[in-house]
């Protein structure tokens, strides 16, 4: 990799989730040069950890496969993983970006044969399963990982395990001497496709996340529903490994709340409706989903997905902001609150509670360049100089479809910047 060939005609895309991949590819397929940097060991971002998409109930990996094929066939995009932007200097059309590169301890010789994973003994909480399962400390992030290279967890560097991994590799792919380094890139425009993170559910104190084993987040539930996930697709509750049949979904967990996130996270209503399908598929008529909501926000043509759920006898809706969750002696969560349609108090026991946690910008807590314009929740509205823009869920809590729409628009904004830079230089 020779970052020095980047010029002020190059577009830097920060973040290798679906928005970042889209922005980089769309620009590249217009003939522009793009560099895609990703902090993690693989592209794919959060969508790669989703089981299925609403409303088609199709698989995120399908789109990822197409995007990876586009990427493999396009020489205009250079991908850098384990790379994080640490500084941006310069101005519109002429940025110098500093990247911090974290060692993978595995080089491009890796054939993904898996011998290193078989050799090491240490296990770590699997970062691509939200820690719901363990993985060997030499691991492939997931089966759609790109680059398709293993990674060694830093915790084993300097231990006998690392040596075992090196010894097991026949291809000289394990390089334990890799060091963190910094590189600088010259780029003309920057697209921030830095995505979102789930609101920390433990901060919603009355819901007991972290205290009650059977209160989990909607993202963790995606992993449970995934046939390749930690439970093989079975909806098992964490406390006792029994199948969860009666599941409560709590909407606006952290969203629409002055104490937490002011905004509505937009996707959570559809996400919970989608997750009721998982319950139905797992248990048929004997499953039960209850959605506790303030407003069901499934806008535009997604309405019929809601209508179908309303017709499903296993799905019920309670208009209520749940006041608190308690736990009974068997570890079942008990939801307390008032059903505002008619003002009935309830104390309802379920097998498992899924918190539809809100989305906040992944960059909250990270210092971004002053030129970027942020709204009150930290989402990127644009930049003063218009040399940088946001894309996807970095700009608003968006679903995948709208994130891609946004990223496609961002690609054009970046192209405008490099176009104008070259036009201005042509005049000189």
């Amino acid at each position: 990799m020779s970052p020095s060939i980047a010029t002020n005609q190059t577009i830097l895309v920060v973040g290798g989730g679906i928005s970042g991949m889209t922005a980089a590819l769309e620009a590249a397929e217009c003939g522009k040069q793009a560099i895609l940097v990703e902090r993690n060991a693989t592209l794919g971002g959060r969508t790669a950890l989703m089981s299925r998409y609403f409303p088609k109930m199709c698989h995120p990996t399908c789109g990822l496969e197409i995007n990876l094929r586009r990427l493999k066939g396009n020489r205009n995009v250079r991908v850098m993983t384990l790379a994080e932007v640490s500084n941006v200097a310069g101005q519109r059309g002429d940025y110098t970006v500093t990247l911090k590169l974290t060692p993978r301890y595995v080089n491009t010789n890796c054939t993904a044969c898996g011998a290193c994973a078989a050799a090491v003994e240490a296990e770590i909480p699997n970062p691509y399963e939200y820690g719901l399962s363990k993985t060997r400390a030499a691991y492939l992030p997931h089966s759609m990982a790109y680059p398709m290279h293993y990674v060694l967890d830093p915790s084993i560097i300097g231990t006998a395990d690392a040596e075992k991994a090196r010894a097991a590799c026949k291809y000289d792919a394990i390089d334990l001497d890799m060091q963190a380094e910094t590189v600088e890139l010259k780029v003309g425009a920057i697209v921030w496709a830095t995505g979102w993170k789930p609101y920390d559910a433990a901060k919603i104190q009355p819901y007991g996340y972290g205290r009650f084993a059977n209160v989990i987040t909607s993202l963790e539930f995606e992993r449970l529903a995934d046939p390749h996930g930690p439970t093989g697709g079975k909806l098992l509750r964490p406390s006792d490994g029994n199948e969860a049949k009666d599941i409560a979904f709590i909407q606006c967990a952290g969203s629409r709340d002055e104490n937490h996130l002011r905004h509505c996270s937009r996707v959570c209503c559809m996400a919970s409706l989608k997750q009721t399908h998982y319950v139905r598929e797992a248990h048929g008529d004997s499953g039960k989903s209850t959605i506790y909501y303030i407003d069901i926000r499934v806008i535009d043509r997604l309405e019929d997905f809601y209508q179908k759920a309303q017709q499903d006898a296993t799905v019920s809706f309670v208009k209520s902001k749940v006041a608190k969750i308690a736990e009974d002696k068997d570890g079942n969560p008990v939801l307390h609150g008032v059903d505002t349609e008619g003002y009935h108090r309830y104390a309802t026991t379920h097998d498992l509670v899924v918190l539809a946690v809100g989305m906040e910008p992944e960059t909250n807590g990270i210092k971004l360049p002053d030129d970027l314009l942020l709204d009150s929740s930290g989402f990127i509205e644009g930049s003063l100089s218009e040399g940088m823009c946001g894309a996807g869920a970095a700009t608003s809590p968006l679903d995948v479809n709208r994130s891609v729409q946004s990223a496609t628009a961002a690609a054009l904004r970046a192209i405008q910047v490099v176009h104008k830079t070259s036009a201005a230089e042509g005049v000189k």
């Binding site: 586009r70 390749h228 407003d295 709204d375 729409q405």
Partner: protein, 748 residues
């Protein structure tokens, strides 16, 4: 082009050397595969191995390379030889990672690998390196149909990226729906107050832009051609016709409001009941002052009824939600509160839908004293000098009513998407059948057409749910079924102005990209960058028209003699035409009836006493083939009796492959494609469906051959089905074993 020189490279790394007899594979490549050069390497994908191949290409004039190593999806950076045609024999994910461990499986494992090497060599010899469509185009300018907020945004953003733009607007001025608005919903922090629409400034910028040409009072009378060379007739109201040559098209034709006359129970038709557009007109007239009704009375109380004629489950009105109307009503309630805080403003809703930062706007309205009541309206009647709204209060769970000077119905967006092609097909059939009524209907439909495409598949973009010209795909919102034509704004799906401007910017990018791709003779998404294109041997064509009818993208016209005319720039390279062609005259340089047919023939078929059935798998390369690969990655075992060939789409499967396979003694054929039906997942629209349809037609052929129909079977395979796909295979193999060997064995 230089003479073909073939080479096979056999890797013994990743355990291939431990599990397989590499020397034997080399011999097969040389003797049976007739490769001019055969080399083995212990680690083919490392720099030395790759350099060896590069050297052969440069110094030994190798033009065709067969890599017998890992899957075509792996190590693509290493095995990248742009000047050579290449095949990949998948020995790792396809053989050693999926065949059961143990020496008792050595024989079948080796046979499987042998066959994949045979197949790789056989395919290679029929392949050419795609040279790109020589009919490249020059036009990169963008036509934007519709001069509203979406169209103006698309035009301006494309022009700012350096592209020429032509705007066609049917009205006498630019601005569209936005011209009717007093203010718009806020689109940036702090999301508290209605904002100026900015449409006048945008229209002025567009009108003055050196790269934008605007046709007012104009419509598109005809569109012919293809991306990079569209010919568009722009008809002016005066009758004059201008002709433009265009690279790509954006359709930003917006929406109409649902007609409130169809909502008499909600007061539609009454003097003091208006829709949201009607309220905007009152606000414009008030110009920031107190809003007055049409009769001049100052409005002291107003009720907004959300979801009027929307989210309808009775089938009478719009079934969907238009998304913007809650925020629009909030904005309109603020018109009243800002002019006079004492005005009673009530928003009657069932779910208040203001996603994202709309929540701040909602809070702002609550602070201004707007009342929000969760209720379902039963009836609006004229009462006294105003209206009486009767509704069910859903919180108090009781019937209630409100009196108001004015009632505003939040009706939905109805897309201006032109002709519904499903209806069009029927009307054309009637008209072609000579029916006078059919002819009249056809001419009426042509009048509402927006693009007036001269395509065989009809004059407008295909519509999806509820008449919107939407993409069907979650990951690819701009995956159009008419290459180089992109819908943007509320014609694509219901949306607010902020989303529409975002959408228009994205559509501008895609239009630019389509024109750039056409200029380079390469495909657009999802096979973006593909330089192959359909090549037709017209002298063999029987004018059966199947290719023109079945093309999912409307890429193929017919000439006067009813021969197919391929518009390569519209083509997406799925190969559906190749699958459809009964006389097999359509091919791609690197994907043809022969490249696949030759692989099928290359497999060695054991005799009927061997108890080794052979099953051909034709697997969609987007979902089924990766699923098989991932079965390998997770070391999921499946039968070593199958031979897998990836296909671009099941729609490209020509039935000759099936009959040839069965004739030559295969015991069965599995076709693996994407999900079909309403939520179809095929990126070439109907691959599985077409394959199913075509296979239903070969039942008689099978019977004629004395074969059971079960010997050809279709499976819907999703990309995540790595375990399921192994089970499909194993179950099917067991079923065939039970059925006994194909009676065709030994006759092939």
């Amino acid at each position: 082009m230089s003479e073909m020189k073939t080479a096979a490279y056999i890797c013994s790394g990743c355990g291939l050397g431990d599990k397989l007899d590499i020397a034997q594979l080399g011999k097969i490549a040389q003797k049976e595969g007739k490769m001019a050069l055969v080399r083995e390497h212990a680690f083919l994908c490392n720099s030395e191995g790759v350099q060896m191949i590069r050297d052969d290409i440069e110094k030994e004039a190798v033009t065709h390379v067969c890599i017998a190593a890992c899957s075509r999806r792996a190590k693509t950076d290493a095995f990248h030889f742009p000047t050579a045609a290449m095949t990949r024999a998948n020995l790792r994910e396809g053989v050693i990672w999926v065949v059961a461990e143990g020496s008792e499986h050595d024989e079948v494992r080796q046979e499987m690998a042998d066959d994949y090497v045979r197949m790789g060599c056989a395919e290679l010899k029929k392949m050419k390196l795609p040279q790109g469509n020589p009919n490249t185009t020059l036009q990169k300018n963008i036509l934007v149909v519709g001069g509203g907020m979406s169209g103006l945004t698309a035009a301006f953003e494309a022009a700012e990226a350096g592209y020429e733009v032509v705007v066609v607007e049917k009205q006498a001025q630019l601005g569209g729906w936005a011209n009717k608005l007093w203010k718009r919903v806020p689109f940036k922090a702090p999301y508290a107050e209605p904002q100026d629409t900015g449409v006048a400034e945008l229209a002025a910028k567009v009108s003055a832009h050196p790269r934008i040409k605007v046709h007012l009072n104009s419509t598109v009378a005809e569109t012919t051609g293809a991306p990079g060379r569209f010919k568009v007739k722009v008809a002016q109201e005066s009758g004059a016709v201008a002709e433009e040559t265009i690279g790509a098209i954006i359709q930003a034709t917006g929406f109409a409001a649902y007609d409130i006359a169809r909502l008499p129970e909600l007061g539609g038709g009454q003097a003091n009941v208006v829709d949201q557009a009607g309220l905007e007109a009152l606000a414009q007239a008030a110009n920031g002052g107190m809003l007055k009704r049409a009769d001049g009375k100052e409005i002291k109380s107003v009720v907004f009824l959300q979801c009027a004629g929307q989210r309808d489950e009775t089938g009478q009105h719009l079934p969907y939600c238009s998304g913007h109307c809650c925020a629009t009503s909030i904005k309109q309630a603020m018109y009243f509160k800002d002019a006079n805080p004492d005005t009673d403003t009530v928003v009657l809703y069932t779910d208040l839908r203001v996603p994202g930062m709309g929540e701040d706007f909602y809070r702002s309205a609550q602070e201004k004293g707007v009342i929000f009541t969760k209720g379902k309206t039963n009836r609006v009647e004229a009462a006294g000098d105003g209206c009486k709204v009767n509704f069910r209060d859903l919180i108090l769970d009781e019937d209630a009513s409100l009196d108001a000077d004015l009632v505003v119905l939040a009706t939905g967006q109805v897309p201006n998407a032109g002709v519904n092609l499903d209806a069009w097909d029927k009307v054309v059939a009637e008209a072609d059948g000579g029916s006078e009524e059919g002819k009249q209907k056809k001419s009426a439909m042509q009048k509402i057409s927006i693009l007036n495409l001269s395509y065989r598949q009809g004059p407008d973009m295909p519509q999806f749910k509820h008449g919107f010209a939407d993409s069907h795909f979650i990951c690819f919102p701009y995956e159009t079924r008419r290459t180089g034509i992109y819908a943007a704004g509320p014609v694509r799906r219901p949306m607010d102005m902020l989303q529409a401007t975002e959408d228009a910017t994205g559509a501008a990018l895609k239009a630019i990209q389509a024109a750039e791709n056409a200029s380079l003779g390469r495909a657009a998404h999802p096979r973006s960058g593909d330089l192959s294109y359909p090549i037709v041997r017209l002298e063999g064509c029987t004018q059966c028209k199947r290719c023109t009818v079945e093309c999912p993208f409307g890429a193929i016209d017919e000439d006067e003699k009813r021969f197919p005319v391929f518009n390569e720039q519209r083509c997406r390279r799925c190969g559906t035409c190749m699958g459809a062609c009964p006389v097999r005259v359509i091919s791609f340089e690197n994907y043809s009836v022969d490249t696949v047919g030759n692989q099928i023939k290359a497999v060695e078929i054991p005799d009927e006493f061997s108890e080794k059935p052979r099953i051909l798998i034709l697997a969609c390369e987007n979902d089924a083939y990766p699923a098989l690969d991932m079965a390998g990655l997770s070391r999921t075992v499946y039968s070593a009796f199958v031979r897998v060939i990836p296909v671009r789409c099941l729609g490209s499967v020509n039935t000759i492959w099936i009959t040839d396979a069965l004739n030559s003694g295969y015991d069965g054929v599995m076709m693996m494609g994407c999900k079909k039906g309403g939520d179809y997942q095929c990126h070439f629209v109907k691959g599985s469906e077409l394959a199913g349809y075509r296979m239903s037609k070969i039942g008689d052929t099978l019977t004629g051959m004395g074969l059971e129909p079960e010997r050809v079977s279709s499976f819907e395979v999703a990309i995540t089905d790595n375990e399921r796909v192994a089970k499909f295979i194993n179950d099917y193999v067991a079923q065939l074993v039970e059925m006994g060997p194909s009676p065709m064995k030994g006759f092939g």
